[in-house]
Symmetry: C2
Subunit: 321 residues, 2 copies
């Protein structure tokens, strides 16, 4: 009798880098590795390289038993196992990635987008393990979301459910990358807060170190630091961002009445400076019946392993639940 | 062997009137009747009267076999079987209505709010019978909603999920009955369109028959008729309402990606004059990935039986699915 360790591979596909690792049923991560996505303009070569690397990590003699592969990727369509029309990946059109990797590795493969993977990670390995209803918001360049209702991730009719970054919060507002206007993510995200700073620099007379930087060099981290240091423009930008994010969170709560909303990603690193005013805003502005029913929390998963864990959690959830 | 017809009782509790009837598994309604809610300030007497009336309709010798009772009522809390703090009903505090009626009738009783009952009605007997994911919006004095995801009604952590009428669409906007500001239902409902007319009468110089009516006498029906007749104030009010409703629908679609959104109730009677521009607005303003994935439809249930059917559908769904 061998004492093989059963694992799922978690794969996080990004425009530049594809990171992966093996994850056991307890959420321990082993054998982290990566390949450069952009080195594989031909998806067949990408599939061969990734499948080969995973088989090497978990193949015969390694002590691991590979039970499946979970993938988080932009523009992934869960129901079909495809990546579709992804502007930030090298491959055009509709790519049946789950099937292609399954054929090369001989194990079942499941795929979803990054924010959904983050939500499944929170459910399987994170702070939502005891929760039936919760929402994860990923505050990166954009605003992604994964919604869990009655213990299941919400995919909807199209598999594209959970695009809370594209709820309209200002009629005719800021231009969004999706082609529409006034979307939540143009206000409440790392790029949104930079836009808010630029707007406030146009509105306010106050001195600010942010006036000495090229707009393209301003980041949410710089703004959070400036706000912590008392810069009036940055402070006001934080408060506008809290308002927009709070409004988005309220609209999500009245929809699905979650037990918790988790904030994850770059902007969430601002910590209490973000979380406390967001909690106050939601408490003051939500329909009273929901007041006090929802916790607004940081993710329970450490950021360095989050994407791999989330992707592997999807496989654990789909194949071994 | 008797040929008893198995039925559920559907009960629609309103502030003035409580209507009920027997509904078979095909959605046929029998023995409609009602009692006056407001005649029973003591809830025990209400329970006795309602239970007695139902037993009379479906008791021994009637040819009906009563298998359960479904109730639609304002402020109903599904998980607990209660009506809680209902401002428009005669009974104060938390009323364990399901348990009380169950004890008097000897059959299982289930209860939810009106809009949720409408959604279950649509699912069991209406136009959503083949759908896994859809949303019903009831456009009455307020805007109610019932959300179905993966064939189940969404109740969330509190049982109060699906309050789309209380999503914020205008930061700091119109005062809402819920105590907050800018809620969708203050713009997109029968009362919302009247408020929009009053605002437009303040903004516009155009002549309008609506200038000759007391604000309290203006109804959504009068506005729809005036718009059909070309009155410029009413026409603009319709278009503002379409915009608000469209924005609310878009925000719901990006959340749960339904196959259809059903519009029901007073305002929906405006027909094509409402549906066509709402469809256009949604199509033009939604994140492109959802374009063409959702039908915006009238309810498949005729209005005179809708509340009874919806309530009975809840019982069929909960007890005989």
């Amino acid at each position: 009798m061998s004492a093989m360790k059963k694992v799922m591979a978690g794969v996080d596909i990004g425009g530049t880098n594809t990171a992966f690792g093996l994850v056991d049923s307890e959420g321990n991560v082993y054998e982290k590795n990566s390949i450069l996505t952009k080195n594989y303009p031909d998806v067949n070569e990408f599939v061969a390289a990734l499948s080969g690397a995973i088989k090497e990590l978990a193949g015969t003699g390694t002590g691991y038993e590979l039970a499946g592969i979970g993938i988080g990727a932009p523009n992934a369509r869960y129901y079909r196992g495809t990546i579709e029309l992804a502007p930030n990946l090298p491959w055009k059109g509709v790519v049946p990635l789950a099937e292609m990797i399954g054929r090369q590795t001989g194990v079942p493969v499941t795929i979803t987008n990054d924010a959904n993977a983050a939500a499944v990670g929170e459910m399987v390995f994170g702070a939502a393990r005891e929760m039936k209803n919760f929402i994860v918001l990923t505050l990166g360049t954009g605003l992604g979301s994964g919604i869990v209702i009655d213990c299941g991730l919400v995919y909807g009719h199209t598999a594209f459910a959970g695009e809370l970054g594209h709820t309209t919060i200002v009629h005719g507002g800021r231009e969004c990358g999706c082609g529409k206007k006034g979307c939540l993510e143009t206000y409440a995200s790392a790029s949104g807060i930079v836009r808010t700073v630029l707007y406030l620099l146009s509105e306010m007379n106050a001195d600010s170190p942010l006036r000495n930087m090229a707009p393209s060099a301003i980041t949410s981290k710089i703004i959070a630091e400036a706000a912590a240091g008392g810069d009036p423009v940055a402070v006001k930008a934080m408060s506008h961002t809290v308002e927009a994010l709070g409004m988005g969170i309220i609209n999500a709560i009245v929809f699905s009445s979650p037990e918790a909303v988790f904030l994850f990603g770059g902007l969430a690193k601002a910590g209490d400076m973000l979380f406390n005013p967001v909690r106050e805003y939601v408490d003051e502005n939500i329909m009273p019946v929901f007041r006090g029913t929802v916790s607004i929390l940081p993710s329970g998963i450490s950021e360095d392993n989050a994407a791999t864990l989330g992707a592997a959690a999807l496989a654990w959830n789909d194949f071994e639940r």
